[in-house]
Symmetry: C2
Subunit: 338 residues, 2 copies
């Protein structure tokens, strides 16, 4: 496959230009481009420029408001709610973050309820931003039906990622961001694009049979949850937190509401942040946790969640990312042909 | 195996008598007995009377204070801390619950930090009690090394259960309580006792090889996390929340501190409770979620987490539970021979 090499600055400039050309105002374009760029900078192609045609499709169809202006409201002493106004998630996250950080540090634990947003990215980005403020954080969001509940052969849950992060001395902390699916939908899409098989257990075909063909999973089949009924329970929990708690669409409702333009449906996201200095070990928690990480990493074969991504980040920061030429050309075309 | 049939009232009376005879004061005996009885009443032998010899061992060795008086402190506007004073968890949970419920309803989200407790039970019990107050709730606790981190062949994480519950119209709500291990240690102990094999994937033997022999897992081997690196990440998260956040022992530290009397080590537990009426959909959340459950349960082969346990509860409430005669005799003996 032909590739184009881009610096991180070029990724950011291309994404911003493309979003601006398709109806995003400056604030929204910058926020979405920063999210896309962060993914490329971490070597996560599935959440990088690969998503840009989807973002553009939703701007062009009018499903997403590229000039949305998120509104922040303190709805309870420990709950901040941000109404994204039908825009993409990144600006709503940017706007809500400082209110959440302040609230969590004041209250000990706080939640950010993001509603009426279109989330089309990884969750580690928002979690890392909170970890950088020395908070521990969870994030949860639903999507559209893609994963069969344990025991079923029909997609019903979204891929429903759950992310968690913990601050460490120096560096980006420990952050995991994992789909409730055995394999993230983005990864299956990349495998389909590149013609690679996926492992048995990733999904079922339209007939409910196990398959290694990513296209059979994506076209009428279903992904499977990780770890059987336990991963399925986590997918259920994510639906309840990101939709039930926030008064936002469950994955099945998001699909019913969606115009199928290829971009992200409208929905909610829940973030919970905890301040480790407010639970009774204000002075000791950091060194205590570092002693734990030291013992854990002394075990052969162990690495911390996020460490591969953070290592890639260090490499990529000094060099360039490699984008499929066809994708690059498609994005360049989207910058003008509106 | 010979069995003894007991009513729920007889389970409760036997457990209370045994705990009182071994140094528990009335309040602690009642709280622990209620926990043991709840497990038996839900058909969960692994957390029922089966645990009583372990409770007694820790009272007799002096590791656990059977007359501990938990102290409640509001350490931040949304954080309640209960110092269990080296007692068993149930009384600390009972004492902290009303403070947590009040705090969560006032703040929207709140945390309960339980420290210096000895937790030897299922987490669904505390989660269900919060769900009964119309709160959503998470609970996390670590233990002693039993599960190998993904990539490793050495036990390091505890079985590290994570529980989550959601309130429903009528009935006990949806509650899951799942070990980060592919199979709970209690289940492996029951399999070892009864001479049953366990599935491949449950654990490794002392040489780091996969095995179906529960004894080989328990004696020098290790349990494995569910869902590979994703379950391992959850086990890691539980360590950080139940130990790192609370200034309590990580599983590896709990083992180093423990006197190996067969009862539970000293450690912490974190509970997070959220009030669904405080996130922006105060009037609609319940009906909205019921519509979701209806669609989910319409799928063939699906059942809600906890439903099997709740069905057993209904059956058992009307009848008796069946206890191995050897276990029953052992407990009766423990009631007197101190």
């Amino acid at each position: 496959m032909d590739k184009v090499e881009l610096s991180i600055e070029e990724v950011s400039a291309l994404a911003t230009r493309c979003l601006r050309a398709n109806g995003c105002d400056e604030a929204n374009a910058k926020a979405v481009a920063a999210t896309v760029t962060s993914a490329e900078a971490d070597g996560s192609a599935a959440h990088g420029l690969f998503r840009l045609p989807g973002y553009v499709a939703s701007l062009r169809s009018g499903k997403v408001d590229g000039a949305a202006s998120p509104r922040v409201e303190q709805v309870a002493p420990s709950v901040v709610r941000v109404d994204g106004g039908g825009g993409f998630a990144p600006l709503a996250l940017t706007v809500g973050r400082s209110a959440l950080v302040e609230c969590a540090k004041r209250q000990g634990v706080a939640a950010l309820a993001l509603v009426n947003i279109h989330h089309f990215a990884a969750l580690w980005i928002e979690v890392e931003a909170l970890v950088a403020e020395d908070l521990a954080a969870f994030a949860f969001t639903a999507y559209m039906p893609a994963v069969a509940p344990a025991g079923s052969t029909r997609a019903f849950f979204g891929t429903n990622p759950m992310a968690f992060g913990w601050p460490r001395d120096g560096g980006p902390g420990v952050v995991f961001d994992q789909a409730s699916a055995a394999m993230a939908r983005g990864e299956v899409m990349i495998a389909a694009r590149d013609g690679h098989p996926v492992p048995i257990g990733a999904g079922l075909d339209a007939g409910g049979k196990a398959t290694t063909d990513p296209k059979a999973i994506l076209e009428g089949g279903t992904l499977l949850p990780f770890g059987g009924h336990k991963g399925s329970a986590i997918a259920l929990m994510v639906e309840l937190l990101a939709a039930g708690l926030l008064g936002q669409p469950f994955s099945f409702e998001a699909a019913e509401n969606d115009n199928r333009d290829g971009g992200p449906p409208r929905g909610g996201e829940l973030i919970i942040a905890l301040d480790p200095t407010r639970f009774g070990d204000a002075s000791g928690w950091r060194a205590h946790c570092e002693s734990f990480f030291e013992r854990l990493l002394a075990l052969e074969g162990v690495r911390l969640p996020g460490s591969r991504r953070h290592a890639l980040r260090a490499t990529i920061a000094a060099g360039k990312v490699s984008i499929p030429a066809e994708l690059h050309q498609r994005i360049v075309t989207l910058c003008s042909a509106n």
